[in-house]
Structure formats: C-alpha cells, structure tokens
Subunit: 241 residues, 2 copies
Amino acid sequence: MVTAGSRKGSRSHVERAERGIPEATVARLPIYLRALTSLGDRDVVTASSEDLASAAGVNSAMLRKDLSYLGTYGTRGVGYDVNYLRYQIAREIGLTQDWSVVIVGIGNLGRALANYSGFASRGFQVVALIDSDPERVGERIGELTVSSLDDLDAILRSESVSIGVIATPAGAAQDVCDRLVEAGVGSILNFAPAVLAVPDSVDVRKVDLSIELQILAYHEQRKAHGLALLSDDTVATAGVL
Amino acid sequence: MVTAGSRKGSRSHVERAERGIPEATVARLPIYLRALTSLGDRDVVTASSEDLASAAGVNSAMLRKDLSYLGTYGTRGVGYDVNYLRYQIAREIGLTQDWSVVIVGIGNLGRALANYSGFASRGFQVVALIDSDPERVGERIGELTVSSLDDLDAILRSESVSIGVIATPAGAAQDVCDRLVEAGVGSILNFAPAVLAVPDSVDVRKVDLSIELQILAYHEQRKAHGLALLSDDTVATAGVL
DNA sequence: ACGATTTTGTTCTCTCGTTCACAAACTCCT
DNA sequence: AGGAGTTTGTGAACGAGAGAACAAAATCGT
C-alpha cells in the first residue's frame, strides 16, 4: 500500500517485446528447452525455477531473469507449466518452423554430422552434402548423395537454405564461406580451425576441438603446477632461454 | 606532460605473475597461437599487434591486453617476435608437454574424433577408445583398438590420462563422467547433449551441435522477422546488401 | 644527438552479465 | 476470510570483459 510509484508497470507483452534478448540468455535458452523436454517426458507438469535451474546447471535467479526476457510465463507461488514454457521457448528460438541445413566438407567430421540424428530431431533438416573432392561426389550417405562444390550455388538457391555448416580443412574454409554467403546463407556453423571473415549481416559460430582441448590443457597444467611449487612459478620461466 | 604520479611502475615479471589469467583471455590464446603458427610458416619474423589481431579476428587493443597478462614479450615501436611469442603462448597453455586423451563412446562422432588428425598435431595423444557396446569392442580404428567400458578404470590408471572426451548418447554421459572423475581425470570435453555434474576440481567444457544450431536459428528468425514488421533498427538491418 | 614515427603496455570508462535480495502474487490450510 | 508459506519477477549491487586513448619505449633518418 505504500509503493509510491508502482504504476509504471504497464509495460506488457508488446513493449517487453522480442527486441533485444541478451546474447548470453539466447545461448542458454536451448539448455532450458532440453531440461523442459526431459521433465515433460517424465510427465512432470509444473517446475519451479529452482527445479529447472538445477536441471540446467545454472543459478535459479539467472534462470528467472532469462525467462523474464521472454515474457511472464510463470505463476508466483507455483512455478512454470512445463509444456507451456517449453512451447514458448521453442517459439522464441524459432523451432516452430523447419530450418534447412547444408553441410560442406564430407570428411571424417562432415560424415559424422551427416549421420547425426540429433539434427533432424529438432527442426533442422540436412538438405544437401557438398564436397570438392570428385572422389566423394556421388557417395550416398543416409538419404542424401554428396554433390559437387560447383553445384553449391544452384542447390542453395533452389532450396532456400539459411544455415551452412563448414566441415572442411582450414585452407578451404574461407572460400566455402564466401560461396555460402554469396548464395544467401545467413548463418554459418564453422568446424574448420580458421577465422572466417563475413559481412556483419551474417552470423558465424565456431566449434573448435583443438581450442577446447587447449583450454582444458591450460587448466590441467595449472592444477599440476599449483601442487608442485606454490609460491611464484618464476622457476619455470627462468628455464626458458 | 603533467603526469603527476607515474612512479608506481615497478611491478615487474614476478608480480604480474601467472596467477589469474582471465578466462576470456585463456580462450583466445589458442587462436593467437594458431595465427602465429600460420605467420611463422610463411616465414614472417615480426608482427605488430594490429597484424596479429586481424589474423585472429579481434581488436588489437584486446590482443595487447591479453598478451600483457603473460608478460612483456613485445618491443615498442617494433612488434612481437613471431616465434618467440609462439613459444611463450604454447608454454603458458601447457603445450610444451604431451597430454593423454581418452575417448569414450565410439559412435559416429567418437569415430570421427578418433580419426581426427588435429588431435595429435598439437600435443594431444589419444591413448584409448572406449565403448560399452560389446559389438564395437575390439574394433580397430587407426592405431587403436576399442576397449570395453569395464576396462576404463584399469586403462586410465596405467596411462595417467588427464583429459576425457565423452561422445556417448546423453543417457550414458553422467555415468561415464562419474567413472572418468573417479579414475582421476581432471578435465572433460563433453559432446553429449547433457548437463554434467562434477566436483569443483574438475573442468568441463561442452560442445553441443544442437545448441549451436538453435542459437543460429534464433538469429535467423530475428533477421526474417525484422524485415517483415519494421520498427527501431530494422531500417539499418534492411539497408544491408 | 635528437626529433619524428611507430607500436607496446596500461589506465579509464562503458557495457554486459551474474548474483543478491525482496516486494508482489499466488496457493493452501484453518 | 485471512494468515502462513511459496515462488516469481525485478531493482540494485557487483564483477568481468571490451574498447578508446595515451604515456612510455623503441627505431629511424638526418
């Protein structure tokens, strides 16, 4: 009853709207989605932010704040309706529609990706496999046949593909990337160990095994060193040169 | 030329020491390392922060700050000695020693990882492949033979493996993770779409295809929507191309 | 020898992300 | 109906990361 200026609270759906969900939040929504799906499969109807947070491995306050960017989908004193929230997140991410994906570079990794069932399970459909090696063109993988890099443009234009996956060696990555962008692909997932240059309008995410391992190695080394000599490690430095 | 109190600059090597390189910086060091290697292979002897930054796809101020956490390895007015800096970063990350890696889960992805040459190229050596499926045990992949999950403990203890890669289905991930931790593995790279619970002393990094695609899908959807109904900055976005 | 030029290392500032803490809103029990 | 107990949504404090800007330190030309 005090609450002097509490009447500004008319900022509803539209205004809170879809403009500007923080990038860090976007990156966590898929995790929440997975947690919700898992709960839903176990016939859980309602979940508190605490439940969800622990299933997703995050802090509950952060989860609540993340969800608040989407709208007010919870009920105080109760929690979140699992299926309703799941749908809302799926809609926000864009999983209510299907996305066509092309994979370029059918080596070890590209082949594994082509066979990966997790793609299709959510709304991602691999519509083409591309490789520059004539040896590989024509090879059949699952439902698809490997096409030549020369046909990339034609294929993309006929299928309206918006996501491209690059699984080529580093040397070929930028060229392939340019071609994908040229053909209108707006988002690229890059597995090649190379830095890609793209126009601002194109999104790139990279997945780099080697880098992940190196980060882990750094921490491992740190743990080991910490135990060995625990003052300053100038000893190690002194050995060099 | 005012500069009243500039005489505090006696904080040198020892004090700036290796304790506490920001996580964001650690994640970029491997990228710098790659850029340096590439330059070195082209016989470039010296590179400025600007050169390196553009090769790594980052801002030059950020690169300089990152490198300053390691020590003072540049020369003002000149730049960085490519090979020297490369060695310093490699040492900092821990690539001057070899790291043993075990891969658990030899499905599509696990097999691709086992064949991936990028592992060995830097100091990572795959010493064992593990799978729970008796069908797969005994299969030969490259130099290695797939071992049973039951033998995991024995293998790890005999080889002193510090990094484990999980490429199993989601359902098996936590169990495998527990076993790896139990056997003394300190760092885990998780490809399974699952949240892993581990003790604080263990580092986990996850690579999740499905999540990456969903993040891209979100941005794609946003671009599409932005063109349809415009307000705010959609104009700028629309202006591209 | 010295000023002009280059380029690093670092300080300052701003933005973004995370966590805390609590009022508001809901349920349940008596 | 009303009070006790839960749980959300969010304002505010806090911390980490990124970029701009500049003094310090090196080279080069004269």
